[in-house]
């Protein structure tokens, strides 16, 4: 046996288990989703009817789907923007500034990320409770009664209340990621700029931000994927899409159609749209945020 052949066999044998798993649990189901979206099927019987692109045509005119799509986009934009700003801010403060209790804050910010989403749903439905909730009582304490709201009952703000919980749980994770890359920036850059008279804010925008740009780009994709996934879990555990569909996101709508409205094929069509949507969005964002990577 020649050395190269031996090496090839070895590589092959090593990768086969992973490839089999990938094929069975990722590729086949994905192809299956695309295939099922062309059928009308209740989910149980053998009675599958091929309907071509009918499911997508219905989807186009389905006002409830459009609404859930809007909600998802609102969440993606709202959660990404606020989480990113806060996470970068906290990361800079905790790495660049010498504050008391640095380590303590790192732990505090990271804790929500360890909690399961169902626990977070529990915490936040207690926080948002209209009568006994933390938020409304806090406003009452400071005589800000006009700010008291039915956080999960008012259809105009319910989706932002969900967003609030998502932001709370996401900040720690992204903060740690940004901290890691900020810590990598050589201290000499900051010293040199300080000698030239740059203040902290100038340093942040001219040194920190450009040098962690690549990291921010990567996290943007994470934001999209995790917001889509976690919003489904949180909505499912917290409001069930209510009141009257005000917090329905597209994954929860897909679940509802596939499993409770006996329209499995239609649900899969929604799945296809979500799949393409998140792919396209990630690609677009990755394209427009593309900058030359700064070497240091």
């Amino acid at each position: 046996m020649s050395k190269t052949l031996e090496k090839r066999i070895f590589i092959f044998v090593c990768t086969v288990p992973a490839l089999i798993l990938l094929a069975i649990f990722m590729i086949v189901p994905t192809v299956e989703v695309f295939r099922m979206s062309l059928y009308k099927w209740g989910g149980f019987s053998n009675n599958k009817v091929f309907v071509g692109l009918d499911n997508f045509k219905i989807l186009w005119g389905d006002i409830n789907f459009i609404r859930s799509l809007q909600n998802s986009i609102v969440l993606i934009v709202f959660v990404t923007l606020i989480t990113m700003v806060l996470a970068i801010l906290f990361a800079t403060l905790l790495t660049r500034e010498k504050m008391k209790g640095n380590g303590f804050f790192r732990i505090i910010f990271y804790i929500p990320n360890i909690l399961s989403i169902v626990v977070i749903a529990g915490i936040f439905s207690a926080v948002y409770d209209p009568a006994t909730g933390l938020l409304n009582n806090l406003f009452a304490l400071f005589n800000l009664d006009h700010l008291q709201k039915m956080w999960l009952g008012d259809q105009k703000i319910a989706i932002y209340s969900i967003g609030g919980a998502l932001i709370w749980q996401a900040i720690g994770y992204y903060m740690v990621m940004y901290m890691a890359s900020i810590a990598n920036i050589p201290e000499s850059f900051y010293e040199a700029s300080a000698l030239e008279g740059a203040g902290r804010i100038r340093q942040f925008f001219s040194i920190t931000l450009p040098l962690i740009w690549n990291n921010i780009r990567t996290t943007l994709t994470f934001f999209i994927i995790s917001t889509i996934n976690l919003s489904f879990l949180l909505v499912q555990a917290m409001t069930g899409g209510g009141p009257d569909g005000a917090t329905e996101v597209f994954l929860s709508y897909m679940y509802k159609q596939a499993y409770t409205n006996s329209s499995y094929g239609y649900g899969m069509a929604i799945g296809v749209v979500i799949f393409l949507f998140s792919f396209a969005l990630s690609a677009i964002i990755s394209r427009i945020t593309n900058r030359d990577v700064l070497e240091y």
């Binding site: 031996e6 066999i9 070895f10 044998v13 090593c14 086969v16 288990p17 089999i20 798993l21 009308k40 209740g42 989910g43 149980f44 019987s45 009675n47 499911n55 219905i58 989807l59 389905d62 409830n64 789907f65 749903a121 529990g122 439905s125 948002y128 409770d129 209209p130 009568a131 039915m150 956080w151 999960l152 009952g153 008012d154 259809q155 555990a237 917290m238 409001t239 069930g240 209510g242 009141p243 009257d244 569909g245 159609q257 499993y259 409770t260 409205n261 006996s262 329209s263 094929g265 239609y266």
Partner: protein
């Protein structure tokens, strides 16, 4: 070199063990059973009545019929336990799972025509007794869309535990304040104004899902059973009729009397906070079923609290009052393997022995004479029909699935928006009629 071979061998072994896992589980189900005995697979929802009664009934059946080995699956989330197996072709032989559940497994099977016709079961003798099943049942329970979903005179689901629904309230509070339980909606509104002056809201609801029985009763009051059946079978224009408008308007008015925090808690996670409003004397009435007593039994409550239940107020003086009856259904999947054995078991659940076991757990079947032996709160609840209320039964007719259209969403879920003021009653009514139009085309 040796190391590489070892590594390669290990990974090959790992991938093999993966494949081995699969075949193992498949063969497991076959062995270990006596070949002469027939195995009957019963799947039952473990609801508020508990799991014990099922074990007992199955023990009793195995004793009565030694040729059968019963395998029981009882779970609170029965759908999630049995549906993966069903998708793989392993169907239970008998299932107790009602319609109206969130995951709507029963409805899905109805839509797929995947239930076994069990009309003949009712002409059979109860297992071990000399009485036909239909002679034991309270009349009327096998005549509605809840057991004959295709409206063709054939029964696909057997009526099991029933429970009257209505408006629940704190009887002690009303007594203390000297308020009468309203008999008409006009009295209801008057009471609402009186209660408001004392800082108590007239109405709350756990989630909009609880409006099903409420609205069905209201429709029956507004238009009688003929009208009701037309509505349930999606007759054209029925939701824009005078009778339906009356029902919609009552809900619209009721929304104004609803406790303000209700909508914020009207979800599956927080609905108990709304039920708590009744216990805390913050709201007077809520639509609910008899299970609420057990569900809230550990909750703190106002001094002297006492459950009361009433049928819906009548629309006109001396008009009909309705209390909708929910019952859980038991059915045989069309793809079950032991249908005959399943039908035998289905007759057995109506035997005196089984009924006694169920009744012990407060699960009441529609068997003649059974409600006389009840005690406590249950006696009050089940006597609601003796006090002049009529029983409503049956829900919407089965249709093919219509993508993106759900009557439950259009009719019930929208009530959150009516209460919060985001939609008008007119918009709600139009949306229901539109959904009805789409579903009519898909009627079976």
């Amino acid at each position: 070199m040796k190391k590489k071979v070892l590594l390669a061998g290990m990974s090959a072994l790992l991938s093999l063990s993966l494949i081995a896992c699969q075949s193992n589980s498949a063969s497991n189900t076959e062995d270990g059973k006596d070949s002469k005995k027939q195995t009957l697979h019963v799947a039952a929802l473990e609801s508020a009545y508990g799991k014990d009664m099922w074990t007992k009934v199955i023990d009793a059946y195995e004793e009565a019929n030694p040729n059968v080995n019963v395998k029981l699956t009882a779970d609170k989330n029965l759908e999630e336990v049995i549906s993966p197996n069903m998708k793989a072709g392993n169907y239970p032989d008998v299932v107790l799972l009602a319609t109206g559940r969130k995951l709507a497994l029963t409805e899905t099977l109805i839509k797929d025509k995947a239930l076994e016709d069990i009309t003949d079961v009712f002409n059979k003798n109860v297992y071990g007794e000399d009485v036909k099943v239909k002679d034991k049942l309270v009349p009327g329970f096998t005549d509605t869309l809840a057991t004959n979903p295709y409206n063709d005179g054939k029964t696909y689901m057997a009526p099991m535990f029933y429970s009257p629904t209505g408006l629940f309230y704190n009887a002690a509070l009303l007594k203390e304040k000297g308020w009468e339980v309203p008999k008409t909606w006009d009295e209801m509104w008057a009471l609402g104004d009186k209660a408001k002056a004392e800082g108590i809201s007239l109405f709350t609801y756990p989630t909009t899902g609880y409006f099903d029985a409420f609205l069905y009763s209201l429709l029956l009051e507004a238009g009688g059973s003929d009208f009701y059946n037309k509505a349930m079978t999606y007759k054209d224009g029925i939701w824009e009729s005078k009778e339906a408008t009356k029902a919609f308007d009552i809900v619209g008015k009721l929304a104004k009397y609803t406790e303000p925090t209700t909508v914020a808690n009207a979800n599956d996670k927080d609905y108990k906070k709304n039920q708590q409003l009744i216990l805390d004397n913050k709201a007077l009435f809520m639509p609910n079923g008899t299970w609420v007593v057990g569900e809230m039994k550990d909750a703190p409550r106002a001094d002297g609290f006492e459950w009361g239940m009433t049928a819906l107020p009548a629309i006109e003086d001396s008009g009909d009052r309705y209390a909708f009856t929910f019952f859980e259904q038991m059915w045989i999947p069309a793809q079950a393997k032991n249908k005959d054995a399943a039908k035998d078991f289905l007759t057995f659940v109506y035997s005196d022995k089984a009924a006694a076991i169920f009744a012990e757990a407060d699960a009441i079947q529609p068997i003649e004479g059974i409600s006389k032996n009840l005690s406590g709160d249950n006696q009050l609840f089940y006597s609601i029909y003796d006090n002049g209320a009529k029983a409503g039964m049956g829900g919407f007719a089965a249709t093919e699935s219509v993508e993106g259209v759900s009557m439950a969403d259009a009719l019930f879920r929208t009530i959150d928006s009516i209460v919060s003021g985001d939609k008008t009653v007119k918009e709600w009514q139009d949306a229901v009629e539109k959904a009805s139009d789409k579903l009519r085309a898909a009627l079976k």
